[in-house]
Structures are given as C-alpha cells and as structure tokens.
C-alpha cells in the first residue's frame, strides 16, 4: 500500500508555485495589487464598460499588494502539496487490485487492473504499428492510430472472452455431469442474417477421448467449438437451433461463466487472452474470481504447473514467455478448475515443430490418462493423427463424424498435395544478382538477433527462409526492408538505407507477420485507392485489380464486372478471411512495384486451400517484383514454391543458397 515516489511530489510543488504565481498575476491584471508598502509600478487603471462596469484593468502595483496576493494563495497551495505527499506515498493501484477480487466496486476495479496491465501491450502495439506504417510508406495520423485502436479493441474482446469462459462475473456455478461432456441433438448454428452455417449436428462426445474438428478456414470450426464453450451463443451473438447439452446442461440457457467449473477453454490467441501479469496469477485466475482462498489457489497452481512440467515458469511475467510456453500456460489456466471438457482452438498455428509435438503430447495425455474430453479445432491435421480418437469434418453446412480408422479428407488431400507439389519449381533463368545483402547484423538490446548475414538474390528467384521460432528470420526480413547500416542492403545497384520511406518501397517491400497492421481503412476499396495514390502513374494496374489478380478472380474488380469481387471491395478489410487479407496486403505492398518482395510467415494460420491461394499469389508476385524472399517454418510450403532455400539458426545462415533439397 505504501511506497515513495518523488515524481508526484515534484509536480505538486510545481503546481503549488504556479498557483501562487497565477493569483499574483490576476491581482495585477485586474486592479487588486495596490495597498500598503512601496509602490513598484504606477500603472493606469482602465475601467471597462457595459456589464463589466465594476471591473477595471491594471492599476498601481505595490509590495504590500503583491505580498497579500501571494499570502492569500498559501492555504490552497498547502492543500495541493498535501495531496502531492499523499500521491507520493500511497499506491492507489494496490487498493483497486484488492477491490477487483470482491466488494461493491468489483467491475470498475477490475477495469482499472486491466487498464494498468494494458499499458505494456499498448506501447508494444504503437511500436509495431510504427514499423508497419514505415513499411507501407504512410505517415498520416490515421495510419498510425487506427491499427493501434483496432488492436486495442481486439485485445479487449479476447480478454473478455477469456474472462467470461473462466467464470468472471458468474452469479452461480452450475454443476456438470461427468459422463456426458457434449451431446448435440439436431442442432444448427448460424449468425443473424447469414442463414445456417452448420446444420444437422447430432453427436455425442465421451470422456477420455480426443476429438479434432477439421475443415477449411471460414468453414465454422471455431463456431462449432464455441457452441460447446457457449461463447458462440452468449458472446458472439450467434443463433442456435435444436439442443446442445454440455455436462448435461442446456448450453443455450447457461452462459459460459456459469460452466467455468467444468469447461476449460484455450483460445486461439493465447497471448491476447492473458488477464494477469504473472504466470502464477494467470493460471490461478479462474479460482481467484470464484473467491477461493489464496493458499488453496497457490496449491492448485503448483499442482497444475507440475502436471504440465512448467514449474520453472511460475514466477515469470506473461510477456517473458515464448510462443510454446504461452500455449502451455494457457492450457494450465484452463486446467485449474479440473474440467470435464477441454476446448482448444488452433493451438498449433503459431508454434514450431518441437513445440507442436509437446502440445499434442500434453493434450493426448490429458484425454487418455486424465480422462478429460478434449476437443481441438485445427487445420493442421497431420500432427493429430496419432492422438485423435475421432474427427469432426466440416463440409459445407454438414458435419461428418469420422470414427477410429477413418481419416479426414483434408489429411488425404494434404498428403496428395505434398506428393504432387514436391517437384522442383520453375528453374530461375540465367540472371545476374538483383539484390545483395552484405554483412547484415541486428542487435536486440545486447542480444545478437541477426549475426553477420550475407547472401544474394537473382531476378526471378523465389527464396524460402527456413528456421525455428526465434532463429532470427523476422529480424532479418525487417532489417532488409528498413536497413539502418549503410551499404548493407543493395537492390538493383541502389543502397536502400540511403532512401526515404516512400522511395524505398520501389526497391524493397515487406509483408510482415502481423500483416493486419498495414490495414486501416474502413473498406477494401478505400484501402486500394489509398495504395494507388502512392503509385507512380503508368506503373501497371491499380491495386484493386492486382488484388483480384492475386486472388485468381481476374481483372475488372474495380469496374464491378464480377459481383463476388465487387462485394469483396465493400467489406471491412478485417472481415475478409486470413488468406484474402494477406493477398490484400501483398497487393498494397506491390503497388509501388518493388524489385524485392519480402513476406514473413505467409502460411501462418491458413488451411490448405488458403495456402494454395497464397502460394500461387507468391508465384504471381515473383513475376511482378523480380524476386520474392519468404520466411516460413512450413517445410512443405517452402518446398513446393521455392527455387532456393536458405536455412537460419541462431541468427546465422547455416547453408549457402542452394537448390531445393529433395
């Protein structure tokens, strides 16, 4: 509760002095500084007229008058100083941290705790968007503010969903029946105005099984998963028809917060769903909001951490976690109340191969040893083959249940695709070097993220940059797009570090991993015309046409020739699917006609069909932008597209550019 900060005291002292000075000024200006003592300045009195007849400006100034004015201000200055001392000593934040757990101001106190926890994220977000607007060559205020704002609102929603699913603000806790985790009887799901998205859902999931929901992006995997968590019906305003029972309770009548005691949820964006500042508080959150005694919470957190083998993380702040660790902490936070049903939304999207394996093993053990009913929504089907007991495959509006022995068509298709596309891509023609990277080094603090990297790109190249999470791929791409050291990046004979942001984009452009940061208009059409404004006249087709071309819709989108494409143009950019958004950002970045296009993790979170779309967009882009360099940890994707492969580990290239390995 108590601590000492000097800053409030200093500002209070300044304020007190300013207050005294202001009073003296008012007296001098409004004719009150006379009276007693020696006359310092004999200014004339200027009476005002009209309604201000009783007021006169200026007048003689005397020492006595000034002293009187200063003295009269002292009591209030003392009050200001007293509050300064209070502010310096009392830590108000601690009061609210306590008030958030219980008491009549729970909601507002929790809001305040969230506000303070948001500051680091806010600063990080501003930094990210600052980079993004440099990449897009935009320097307008909306380009900076709108994405920060969008991210903030998105964070709020993720936080809210995670709080709701962990029992925040629950009026009661509903008891669940262990034997029947999920039973659906002729259920249908859909959003208002969109018709039914999924129909004829009749299924029953048993304890001790692991079920994987598969389907392409946008098919409704997440909706199906959240129809079990209740977020679909109660948080996203989805409509439900038929009966969905979770733990024997009617899901449509029971909000998620009341079933937090037996339903655990791990959301798609684990980092955005963290409510607390430390790992320990994060894992224990569900028990804390239920008012469980601190000693018991600590005991349970310890048990869960031991179960997941993450004891060493307990004291860390949530920001200091790697992607894999963050997933495990989120799983721990869902396990704290010993759920009967554990729902996991795309846990593998952000992880590299070792972390993926670990998460799959953990969920496998939970289902088959701890007898939890685990449901996973995922399009990375291959990793789950050994662990899954059943598959729910979404096709159109149908959901097919595949038992043991049966395999989802996505898995078969992915294997076929991997076989057929594992051919060496079109060989690059004999071309001279287009771009040269010379001794590029990036320091993050004292850590060497990129260590003296040099390589060359030729025209027509499609180069894949492979490597594990944290190998330095993103840092390298960023440093190529926004070089700081002279002579480190040469494109078409031009030293890129010497160019201004706008001119740089004609040589090298980057589509970053968080490509949404580059979007800030309200409709796709507006986004395209904004990009066109930077386009030099006569520099190929407009951005809208290029976007349509990347999507494989053909030209003529702007003219409204294609009804589907015209509809796309009027949508909010963030309502597009992930694959379409990525293509939009690529079209925007290609507007300035860069010689080298850099793309960071183009396949993250994409299903096979969207991957194909992005893959062919990359092929189309490489003819536009002379050379494409893309970072990925998706080996199949890299192999099917790249003409060359670079492998990165611990900030260094481990092999020289070579032809694709078989």
């Amino acid at each position: 509760m108590l601590r000492l900060r000097m800053a409030p005291l200093r500002s209070a002292a300044l304020l007190a002095v300013a207050f005294v000075a202001l009073r003296v000024v008012y007296r001098v200006v409004f004719g009150g500084a006379s009276g007693g003592g020696a006359v310092l300045l004999d200014l004339p009195r200027i009476p005002l007229g009209g309604p201000f007849a009783h007021i006169a400006l200026l007048g003689p100034v005397s020492t006595g008058g000034l002293w009187n004015a200063a003295q009269s201000a002292l009591p209030f200055s003392a009050v200001i100083l007293a509050f300064g001392v209070l502010n310096a000593v009392v830590d108000v934040r601690r009061f609210f941290a306590r008030g958030a757990a219980r008491g009549p101001l729970r909601a507002l106190s929790r809001s305040l705790v969230i506000a303070w926890a948001t500051f680091p994220a806010l600063i990080a977000s501003v930094r990210r968007v600052h980079t993004a607007s440099a990449l897009r060559g935009e320097r307008s205020i909306p380009a900076l503010l709108v994405p920060v704002f969008e991210q903030t609102v998105e964070r709020a929603l993720c936080l809210a969903a995670s709080m709701e699913s962990r029992g925040f603000a629950a009026a009661r806790t509903a008891p669940g029946v262990c034997q029947r985790p999920v039973v659906m009887t002729d259920a249908a799901l859909g959003f208002a105005g969109g018709g039914w998205q999924l129909e004829g859902l009749t299924l029953s999931l048993a304890p001790g099984t692991l079920t994987v929901i598969t389907g392409s992006t946008g098919s409704g995997k997440t909706s199906l998963l959240h129809s079990m968590s209740g977020l679909f019906q109660h948080f996203h305003d989805g409509g439900q028809h038929g009966v969905i029972e979770v733990g024997g309770l009617d899901r449509a009548a029971t909000p998620p917060r009341e079933t937090a005691g037996f339903v655990g949820l791990v959301s798609q964006n684990v980092r955005l769903s963290f409510v607390a500042e430390t790992v320990r508080d994060e894992i224990g959150f569900a028990l804390t909001v239920r008012g469980v005694a601190a000693v018991i919470v600590e005991q349970r957190v310890h048990e869960v951490a031991a179960q997941l083998q993450i004891e060493h993380l307990q004291g860390r702040t949530v920001e200091a976690l790697s992607a894999g660790e963050a997933s495990l902490v989120a799983i721990g936070a869902a396990l704290i109340s010993q759920p009967i049903l554990l729902l996991v939304d795309e846990p593998l999207a952000d992880l590299d191969a070792p972390a993926r394996g670990r998460v799959v093993r953990v969920l496998d053990r939970l289902a088959h040893e701890a007898q939890v009913c685990v449901v996973v929504a995922e399009h990375n089907t291959r990793e789950w083959e050994s662990a899954a007991d059943a598959w729910l495959e979404i096709r159109g509006t149908d959901v097919r249940t595949l038992g043991p022995g049966e395999r989802p068509s996505a898995l078969i298709a992915a294997e076929r695709a991997a076989r057929t596309t594992a051919r060496p891509a079109t060989p690059a023609g004999p071309a001279g070097p287009l771009a040269g990277i010379r001794h590029l080094t990036v320091l993050h603090g004292t850590e060497l993220a990129v260590d003296d990297v040099s390589f060359e790109l030729a025209a027509g190249d499609r180069v894949a940059l492979e490597g594990r999470n944290g190998a330095g791929k993103s840092s390298l791409l960023r440093a190529i797009a926004l070089p700081s050291a002279r002579g480190s990046v040469l494109v078409a004979g031009q030293d890129v570090s010497l160019l201004r942001a706008g001119a740089r984009r004609a040589f090298v452009a980057l589509v970053p991993e968080n490509f949404d940061d580059l979007l800030f208009a309200v409709t796709v059409a507006e986004e395209c015309s904004r990009a066109d404004r930077q386009l030099k006249p006569g520099n190929g087709p407009g951005t809208a046409a290029r976007f349509a071309d990347l999507l494989g819709l053909g030209a003529g989108i702007g003219a409204g020739a294609n009804a589907g494409a015209a509809h796309l143009m009027q949508q909010h950019p963030r309502d597009l699917s992930a694959g379409e958004r990525l293509c939009l950002v690529m079209a925007i970045q290609l507007a300035a006609g860069p010689r080298v296009l850099l793309v960071d993790e183009p396949t993250r979170g994409l299903d096979p069909r969207a991957r194909e779309l992005v893959g062919s967009a990359l092929v189309r882009a490489s003819s536009d932008a002379s050379a494409v360099l893309f970072a990925t940890h998706d080996r199949d994707f890299a192999r099917s597209l790249a003409t060359k492969t670079l492998v990165m580990a611990a900030g260094r290239l481990t092999t020289e550019p070579a032809l694709v390995r078989p």
Partner: protein, 302 residues
C-alpha cells in the same frame, strides 16, 4: 425496471453534481452564516456523488465484455492524456470519449470518462480535490455523445454515403461545443480559488448575481476559452474527422451486448443485421454471409 431506476439516479446525480460545480452562484442565495460553508459542501458533495454513481453503475457493468472494454479503452485514454501534457495541453482525450460514448452508450461513456481520469491520475500521481470534478466533466462529455440524436446507419453492403458523414459532422459540432463547455464548468467551481479575493473579477458572495456572472465571464475568457479550450476544440475536430469513421467502425464491430441478457433461443432469420452493425467473431472466417444458402428448415421447432 432497474434500468429506469438507474437512469433516474444518473440524471439526479448529475444534476446535483452540476449544482456542486455552480456553487459560487448558489452561495449568494444562502443565509450569510451558511455562505462560508458552501465551498466545503460542494467539495464533499461531488466526490460523494462520484462514489454513489460508481456504486450504482458497477453492478450493471459487471459483464466480461464491458469490463474488458472499459479497462482497455481507459488505458488508451490515460495514455493519450499523459502524452498530451508534454505538448502544451493538446488534449486529444475527448476524441476517444466522444467516439466510445457514441458507440457504446451514455453509461459506458460516463464511466470511461471517470476511469480515464482515475487511471491517468494514478499513473501520474495527480489525485487531488480537482479529481472528482474532472471525472464528472469528462464523464458528461462521454455520456453526451451518446445522447445526441440517432442517425440511421447505412446497411452493410451499400456504399458508404452521407449518413456516416452526417454523424461525423454532428460529433465534430458536439466536440467543439463540449470543449468550450468543459473549460467553462471546470473554471466555474475553481474560479473563487484561482483568483482569490481582492481583484475586480473576484467572486463576491454578497454581490448581485449579474455582477458575479460578468466577473466569471471575463475570468473564463482570459483563463481558458481563448487558449486551452480553443486548442482542445481544434484538436478534437481534427481527430474526429481523421480517425472518427474508422474508429467508430472498429468500436461498433465489437458490439457490446446488453449485460445480463440470457442467451437467445429464438434464432433470428431476418435478412438484415439488427441495427445495421457489423458482426464480429473470433475466427478467421470470412463470415456467415459466405456460407452457402441452405434449404428451408421445418419451422415447427423454431
């Protein structure tokens, strides 16, 4: 029923607080012995009203979405406010208050104003007798934006037309008005302290109302109307014009459901979105509109 009670409480509380702001004008109506007590009563009344209204609204706001949005947006507001102190009082926080109040309603706007001041004061260490007054004034700015007349928003799919621009124009006008009014009410309660006694524009408890009004008008004109308030009005205008449409869209995409409402059992089957808003959901799905049309279902169980 409860909602109506809360509305009355809010209106009554705001009215009382307004009286607290305007204490210099009320004091002259009091008997002479009681005049000295007027400022003290006002200083006790306004914080007490803040607490009372916070307690009233707290239970109503106790849903995960509201709490999370309030927290995150007040952090943004506080950041904007603290960043603004360095650049000559260019206060941009009104932009956020007005847009959020407009998108999420009067109660949310009021609480956002209140919390923004609380967060920034706690970070900067600036709690003082002025804090409750700032909270009310900022809360009113946010709530007022929601109380402006509704403008029908265009349907999804149709090109953005004049109605969106009309709404922005209305918010800009409101932003300018509220910038000046904010300065006015903040000057009103502080005027007797700022000037002290002994000047020609001093507050005089025994002077006629007209004379006090004239003194106050001159005080507020030279203190803030011509300087801070004008800067604030300009900042707010520029801000709302530049980021308003996109920020409003972002806020409205994250619809704030009615708190405490049970899940919908009856499935909506109309072809337009209620209120013309945009649906949001967490998946990467392009939206239900992309789902293939389905055959009509037997309506017996709808």
């Amino acid at each position: 029923m409860r909602a109506r009670w809360t509305s009355w409480l809010l209106a009554g509380g705001s009215l009382l607080a307004a009286a607290g702001f305007a204490w210099p004008f009320f004091a002259s109506a009091l008997p002479e012995d009681a005049r000295a007590a007027a400022p003290i009563v006002a200083f006790a009344l306004v914080p007490a009203l803040i607490v009372a209204l916070a307690l009233t609204l707290d239970r109503e706001m106790y849903t995960a979405k509201t709490v999370a949005l309030l927290g995150v947006l007040s952090a943004v507001g506080a950041a904007v406010r603290i960043a603004g102190t360095g650049v000559g009082g260019v206060e941009a926080v009104f932009i956020l208050l007005i847009l959020a109040g407009r998108a999420y309603g009067a109660r949310f706007g009021f609480l956002l104003g209140l919390l923004t001041i609380a967060v920034s004061s706690a970070l900067w260490g600036g709690f003082g007798p002025w804090t409750p007054f700032q909270m009310f004034a900022c809360g009113w700015v946010g709530a007022g934006a929601a109380l402006l007349p509704r403008i029908r928003t265009p349907r999804i799919g149709t090109p953005r037309n004049g109605t969106a621009r009309l709404e922005i124009a209305m918010l800009v006008a409101y932003g300018i008005a509220s910038s000046y009014l904010f300065g006015l009410v903040m000057n009103l309660w502080f005027w007797p302290f700022a000037v002290g006694s002994g000047t020609d524009i001093s507050y005089a408890a025994d002077a006629p109302l007209g004379e006090n009004l004239a003194s106050f008008a001159l005080y507020t004109l030279v203190t803030s109307t011509l300087t801070w308030d004008t800067v604030r009005a300009i900042t707010t205008t520029i801000g709302i014009v530049l980021v308003g449409p996109a920020a409003l869209a972002a806020l409205r995409r994250a619809k704030l459901g009615k708190p405490g409402r049970p899940g919908r059992l009856v499935t909506p089957r109309s072809t337009s979105l209620p209120g013309g808003g945009t649906r949001t959901h967490p998946s990467t799905a392009p939206g239900a509109a992309a789902a293939p049309p389905t055959a009509p279902r037997p309506s017996a169980r709808a």
